[in-house]
Amino acid sequence: MEYGLKPLGREKLWLWLMLVPTIIGLAFGTIGSLLATLTLSFFDWDLIGAPTWAGFSNYVQLFQNESYMEAFSNTLKFSAMYVPGVVIISLLLAVLLNRKIRGVGIFRTIYFLPTVTSAVATALVWNMIYGRDTGILNFMLESVGLSPICWLCTNNAMLSVVIVNVWGAIGEGMIIFLAGLTAIPRDYYEAAELDGASGFQQFLRVTIPLVTPSIFFQTLIAAINAFQAYDYIYMLTRRSGGDSSVPVAVFSIYRNAFHFFRMGDASAQAIQLALLVAAFMGVMFWWERRYVVYE
């Protein structure tokens, strides 16, 4: 066992006292609640009467429940657009900023702003910007001769929501890529140049392989965020009565649990979301072993 301070006498008690909050958190917050949600998913319960055993019926019903299947497929569609969007754009920005040009600090600050500010506040402005007749975006389109778009109507809402979410996430991705890029030793580029590699070849053969750990990490983070995306989507697509025009998985969990008080259904949906995250991580770690280059 590595170096460690030995607790003396009564300090053993102190040691565990300092861990008490963490252990409570494990018991009630994370591991305990995972087990509790798993248990609840096998019952029907409205929080008022006694829970009744439901077996696997909550899981079977998930696949017959049209509104949940819509929410789940929306989450997948959203992720399929959001994850590549965030990874590619933030990598591109980081490569540009890594050119050692002036004003890097200012650009970094500007791109990072949405990460700091609340999705609720910025979504309210996006709502105005996306306005069909009054929004600034359609005004810009019209002024270059294009026809206006109903950004938040059912056909386009998904794309509009992805744009806002990507806008909100590229700052953080850029910082992670920038850290990965600055860690690449200059010698590698000098050696490549001596061998006559062009700038683009250097990017393909030196930068991309050496930045794969960051690509891996950023893809993982972006996907986890995508599966759990809620704030912007709720704010941009909510309709009267608490409904949404682009319901996603988290929205469905929230609504089943706290509007309809179907605790069993909501728990089964939460477990399915957790399984999706776990499955994705499994695939990613398999991919990591095959393709990610660590020095």
Binding site: G4, L5, P7, E11, K12, L15, M18, L19, P21, T22, I24, G25, F28, T30, G32, S33, L34, T37, L40, L47, L93, L96, L97, I101, F107, R108, Y111, F112, L113, V116, T117, S118, V120, A121, T122, L124, V125, W126, M128, I129, I136, I175, G180, A183, S214, F217, I224, Q228, Y230, D231, Y234, M235, I253, Y254, A257, F258, M263, A270, A274, V277
Partner: protein
């Protein structure tokens, strides 16, 4: 093309792309501020600079909502966020110290278990936690938002532990010679020496608590006296008193992001380095 010409061309291209991108990033913020200084009748105007510039919308926030509701929202947000920061920093630092410095049976197992919880989506905890707080009769109060901050967490514990590991062991040995207790070493050596990491964690936690939408929505009544500024803002539009005025709404939105903007501009380094750190040394 010569080497230097090629560099100039590429640099110009980089500036062009970064510049257009930066304008896109800024547009929503600029628009928010612009609308917030307009007369309500001009809320849909396409002019960037308001004419005339009015401060009435900011005054309206404090005047039009009944019972000083806007002040209550601001107070609630500060109260919940600050208590969350205290809870997280304290409990995560204690656990991080024990995991980084003290030798005891089961240390590695417990730490691995804690790290594994990072993979559990927070939505999974929401339902059982709601049920527990319901049986404690705490739904509708701010306790369900504050109490969980005092039960540690994988992210904060991991972040601080990584920093604690960089503090030289000689300091601990020297303090031990002088008869310092475990808690003394934590309180008088590790915490004071870890200010940058503690600051980074505090900022992250404050940001997340301040911007949180889902948890206040679940636990708090949507009544303007009880809820947070972020959630209050989400329901501003439905407030009859504001009559759907975007100018007032934007003034509220800007005030709601102002504290974080100020913190960000003061502590930008900690913020950005904290993110970079979590990305590189996972």
């Amino acid at each position: 093309m010569t080497k230097s010409l090629q560099k100039t061309v590429l640099d110009t291209l980089a500036y062009l792309v970064l510049g257009i991108g930066a304008l896109t990033m800024l547009l929503p913020f600029v628009w928010m501020i612009s609308v917030s200084f307009r007369e309500p009748a001009q809320q849909y105007s396409r002019n960037l600079i308001p004419d005339p510039i009015v401060f009435q919308n900011y005054a309206d926030l404090f005047r039009v909502l009944p019972n000083n509701a806007f002040l209550a929202l601001v107070f609630n947000s500060f109260k919940i966020s600050i208590l969350t920061v205290i809870g997280q920093v304290l409990t995560c630092a204690m656990a991080a110290f024990v995991f980084a410095v003290v030798k005891f049976k089961g240390r590695n197992l417990l730490f691995a278990l804690l790290l594994a919880t990072m993979m559990i989506p927070p939505q999974v905890s929401l339902i059982p936690n709601f049920i527990i707080f319901k049986y404690m009769h705490l739904i509708g109060t701010q306790w369900p938002l504050i109490l969980p901050a005092f039960w540690g967490g994988a992210f904060g514990t991991f972040l601080l532990r990584q920093y604690f590991l960089t503090i030289p062991r000689d300091l601990v040995d020297a303090a031990r010679m002088d008869g310092a207790s475990l808690f003394d070493i934590f309180w008088r050596i590790y915490l004071p020496l870890s200010k940058p990491a503690v600051a980074a964690l505090a900022i992250f936690v404050f940001k997340d608590a301040w911007n949180d939408l889902l948890h206040p929505l679940v636990y708090l009544p949507t009544d303007m006296q009880q809820t947070t500024l972020t959630v209050g803002l989400a329901f501003f539009q439905q407030q009859l008193q504001l009559g759907g005025k975007f100018t007032v709404l934007m003034a509220g939105a800007f005030l709601s992001i102002l504290p974080l903007l100020i913190i960000f501009f003061i502590a930008q380094k900690q913020f950005i380095e904290g993110i970079a750190l979590s990305g590189v040394k996972r």
